[in-house]
């Protein structure tokens, strides 16, 4: 070896070493907190859907009075992850029912400790659970083409009500249940006494959420599609007639997460931005209540007592989401972190 080559060898080795050191990084992440949480008694539960097939659904909790956030209530209390895609949670009779869509199950947990007391299984792709009496509930489904009838005492499925398409959110008015449908142009009406469909109300496709207002009218949000316009509908639940239709200006619009303030006089919904309108308004709002400004709003909820609006930013859907809180006047009240893909809020 001549001197020149030796020098080049040394120089190149040093250059390589410098590069190597420069790029070195620690890969060990912070270990997750495994200790159990203290029971929660007031505040808001945040439903974190999680990624499809990643099994990372969770329920967060936020207490506005103390500012305390619990990232996940379920896993620390039960020693295992909740499941795959948490679609919804319903509080009923001192219990919380967690509908875990792609795990095909409903977990029954204590709302304070989140310890599971029962698991209702046998669903295809469950979406929402609606109690229709102290012992009976309906569960809508994405795949099965039916609504499951569940015995809340025995925690088992006792029957099913055939209903074509992807059934979504439901509302009980008197003795009738109104069912939105993502893939049909109807809101279906079920008689809870007979567990049978008794009527269908023509709306747009993409029915995804509904609320009952202070005047007893039912509001339905439809995202549209296959030739039908995205729109809000006001339905008279007694006559089953559509009282008013509020079509959105463009087919690219997609109203969802329709919700209400505490006294049932103001509607809120997502359509990229957060919108609100009084139930007495005769046109849709043209200016957003909160503009998205580059955020990916995915979940929406309004505290019935304080009127605080919670808008969840799911970011890139592959990290924990950020919840933005706004007063009724639109002023920011701060943010907190939730779990993966926060989609809904349950206030208690």
């Amino acid at each position: 070896m001549n001197g020149m080559s030796a020098r080049m060898c040394v120089v190149s080795a040093m250059v390589l070493l410098a590069f190597a050191l420069q790029s070195c990084r620690k890969d060990r992440p912070e270990p997750p907190v495994e200790e159990p949480n203290a029971p929660v008694d007031r505040g808001v539960y945040v439903i974190n859907e999680g990624n499809f097939q990643w099994g990372n659904a969770s329920v967060s909790h936020f207490d506005a009075a103390t500012g305390e956030v619990v990232e996940d209530l379920y896993a620390p209390a039960n020693g295992e992850a909740l499941g795959d895609v948490l679609q919804s949670m319903t509080l009923h009779d001192g219990k919380a029912y967690l509908v875990v869509n792609n795990s095909g199950k409903v977990e029954v947990v204590d709302p304070a400790t989140f310890v599971s007391s029962a698991t209702i299984t046998g669903f295809a792709s469950p979406r929402y659970l609606l109690p229709v009496s102290s012992s009976k509930a309906y569960v809508s489904d994405l795949q099965s083409g039916s609504i499951a009838v569940v015995d809340l005492q025995a925690n088992s499925i006792t029957g099913s009500i055939p209903c074509a398409g992807w059934t979504e959110m439901m509302a009980l008015v008197g003795s009738e249940v109104f069912v939105t449908n993502q893939t049909r142009r109807y809101v279906y009406v079920i008689d809870t006494a007979t567990d049978a469909i008794v009527d269908s109300i023509a709306v747009s496709r993409g029915g995804n959420s509904l609320v009952l207002d202070a005047d007893g009218a039912l509001w339905v949000a439809c995202s549209g599609g296959t030739g039908t316009a995205p729109a809000l509908y006001r339905i008279d639940p007694v006559s089953h007639n559509v009282d008013a239709t509020f079509p959105l200006p463009s087919s690219a619009d997609s109203p969802s997460r329709l919700t209400m303030n505490g006294d049932g006089t103001v509607l809120y919904f997502l359509n990229t931005d957060v919108f609100r309108m009084a139930i007495t308004d005769d046109a849709l709002p043209s200016v957003p209540f909160v503009a998205a400004d580059g955020r990916n709003f995915y979940g929406l909820g309004v505290d019935p007592n304080s009127g605080v609006v919670h808008a969840a930013d799911a970011l890139d859907f592959t990290q924990r989401g950020v919840v933005h809180r706004y007063g009724a006047d639109g002023a920011s009240l701060g943010t907190f972190y939730a779990g993966r893909i926060p989609s809904a809020f349950i206030f208690h």
Binding site: A20, L315, D316
Partner: protein, 648 residues
């Protein structure tokens, strides 16, 4: 073998028809080659036959590795994903035994590794990816792994690296027959038969394979938890590969190839999914033809390929979701040697792709054309060489970024080389990115970027000890990186990310020969830092964080002993933390999986050999998941028998 292919109980009419087609075409090819042999046996050829795959050697200064014959033998009945996991730096994202396997190479995504079969890109035009679990190692007799980006040579997607699968002709080798079968844990049965013939003017080969497995392995998630059984992971694969090369005259050669494959497999549930009845069927026909004319100073290649691929997906009942694509490729290339050490290449590529899917409103089509050129110079002394290449592609009516590559390598001292290269890179959006309804964006930009690498390679033999090693460091930035993000009503691809990937690859192999024994030690380490550099939205916590499913540290160790007819090998692969959230707060634990092979070969007659090999995978019962919630098997075995006759 034919009985193995014919005994499966659930072949539909179409498959049976295709199978008959395979049988007859295989027989025709065999007859053709046998017949031809007797006629042209004695012809003498003046020119040296070029058997090296095209453009190999044009990427001077880049790290590359040829998978050696012992690695091939260890994975003779395996799929390409398994081979790469055990024998290369490519991180394979495996969803389970027999399930989807995609790549992360040098911090790139699955779309950033180009897999080329005889020079043709196998990536689906629909999602730009290739499921490596569907590529049998048998599909090639030469596998090369080229690290780093070289889109100027290999086209869109050759960003993190390129895997070359080649079927090199074997002129002048006579008849060769190989029959193999293996039995493994979880109802894993594999059969293969291949035959080839070669004389001065003909080289013909045909191979058939069949794989069936239940894959109903048991796994445990943690200490003191009940054992669970994997469900709906059964698979069946069968295929045919054939290649015929004919040296028509001293100047002209034609080659044709055909690769048929059918796969039917269950898609197992994730750990959090109650059950799954999903099923996926893949069927592909790949046909290639090439003509080559060699003159004294130049060679002209004209090559074409026709790929037809179908995927039927049964998500939860008998309703199938269909997607089909076909790709037609034509390429002309002129190689010119103006003088000793100089090599100049110019070529034109036209690729037409069309696809149908329930996700597309119409049947989209795409025409891409590319003009490329390359030049290499090798000094007379052999002390240094350099290359430059460039490519301009046009996609439908639009020009995609011009890309280029420059590299050089210098011999520092005998057996030691200093290598360096810089490249400009691109990747065009896939059909799904452009045409998916809803969400596809027709004016999405191609990704573009640049990269550089420097390395030192060593290869020395001192007495009975041979040492080779290489250390490479690289850096690459890709801009306009496409990801799907939610919009008002649906998800949509956007050119939002900028990803900086850098790292160090180090590897060394020591081979000691003592009498009839040979000892091999090899160690490879990979350090990959691949981070998103740009916020996708306000509050995005992923900036400067490692990409998901990209291990920052990984390594492989191999010990091999060969003594006469006996050989034993043990490979241990370490895979470091993989993050499962873009803010790196969720992650999967590191794991090490060790596999061992024992083989014994004995001669039968003058030209035959019979070998038995025993394989033990996951020797130490590692509980691990490559992808979250996708369980992997504990220790499992395979025993195989193989009969070889003739010169390989």
């Amino acid at each position: 073998m034919w009985s193995a292919l014919g005994t499966d109980g659930r072949v539909c009419g179409a498959a049976a028809f295709v199978r008959r087609g395979i049988v007859s075409s295989a027989l025709v090819m065999l007859w053709f080659s046998l017949h031809a042999q007797t006629v042209v046996d004695t012809l003498r050829l003046r020119e040296v036959v070029v058997v090296a795959p095209r453009l190999v050697g044009m990427n001077v200064g880049a790290r590359s590795k040829v998978v050696d014959s012992t690695a091939f033998a260890r994975h003779a009945t395996a799929d390409l994903g398994t081979l790469l996991t055990n024998e290369s730096s490519v991180f394979i994202k495996s969803y389970g035994l027999g399930s989807l396997a995609t790549t992360a190479f040098r911090g790139g995504s699955a779309n950033h590794t180009a897999v080329l079969w005889n020079g043709f890109n196998l990536g689906s035009p629909m999602n730009g990816q290739l499921d490596l679990s569907l590529v049998p190692v048998l599909a090639a007799n030469d596998v090369r792994i080229e690290h780093g980006g070289a889109t100027a040579l290999w086209g869109s997607g050759a960003v993190g690296g390129t895997i070359h699968l080649n079927n090199l002709p074997r002129f002048d080798r006579g008849p060769y027959v190989e029959v193999g079968a293996s039995v493994g844990s979880f109802g894993d049965l594999r059969q293969q038969v291949s035959a080839s013939l070669g004389n001065a003017r003909w080289s013909a080969s045909v191979a058939l394979f069949h794989t069936a497995a239940r894959n109903d392995f048991r796994y445990v998630l943690a200490d003191n938890t009940a054992e669970r059984k994997q469900e709906n992971a059964q698979l069946e694969q069968r295929g045919l590969l054939t290649q015929v090369h004919h040296q028509i005259t001293a100047q002209q050669r034609v080659s044709v190839g055909y690769w048929y494959q059918f796969s039917d497999r269950g898609i197992p549930p994730t750990l959090q999914q109650g059950r799954s009845t999903a099923e996926q069927r893949d069927e592909s026909h790949r046909l290639t033809a090439a003509w080559q004319y060699s003159a004294r100073r130049s060679v002209v290649h004209v090559r074409s390929a026709w790929f037809q691929e179908g995927l039927r997906w049964f998500p939860f009942d008998d309703t199938a979701v269909d997607s089909r694509s076909r790709t037609a490729i034509a390429e002309g290339e002129w190689r010119f040697r103006p003088g000793r050490g100089h090599l100049f290449i110019m070529g034109l590529n036209a690729t037409h792709a069309a696809a149908r899917s329930d996700g597309y409103a119409d049947a989209p089509q795409q025409l891409r054309s590319a003009l490329f050129g390359a030049y290499t110079y090798t000094a007379r002394s052999g002390r240094w060489s350099a290359s430059a290449s460039a490519r301009q592609e046009r996609m439908d009516q639009r020009l995609v970024p011009f890309t280029a590559n420059i590299g050089a390598q210098v011999r520092l001292m005998p057996g030691a080389q200093l290598k360096a290269s810089v490249s400009k890179l691109y990747r065009v959006p896939t059909f799904n990115d452009l045409y998916w309804v809803p969400g596809g964006v027709r004016d999405l930009l191609p990704e573009s970027g640049h990269g550089a690498e420097v390395g030192v390679a060593l290869d020395r033999t001192v007495g009975r000890v041979a040492v080779n090693g290489e250390v490479t460091t690289y850096s690459r930035t890709m801009d306009q990186w496409i990801i799907w993000l939610p919009g008002p009503a649906y998800w949509s691809p956007q050119n939002v990310m900028q990803v900086w990937s850098r790292g160090v690859e180090a590897g060394a192999e020591v081979i000691v020969s003592v009498g009839r024994s040979k000892l091999t030690f090899a160690l490879n380490t990979d350090h990959v830092v691949s981070t998103n550099q740009r916020a996708k939205s306000s509050d995005d916590a992923s900036v400067d964080k490692q990409l998901i499913y990209t291990p920052m540290y990984s390594g492989r160790g191999r010990i091999g002993v060969q003594h006469g007819r006996f050989s034993a090998t043990c490979i241990a692969v370490y895979t470091g933390y993989r993050y499962t959230s873009t803010d790196t707060r969720s992650f999967l634990e590191p794991f090490t999986v060790a596999n061992a092979w024992l083989a014994y070969a004995l001669r039968t007659g003058k030209r035959g050999s019979l070998s038995v090999d025993l394989q033990c995978n996951n020797l130490f019962d590692a509980r691990y998941q490559v992808i979250a919630d996708r369980p992997m098997p504990l220790r499992h075995y395979r025993i195989g028998v193989r009969y070889q006759f003739g010169e390989r």
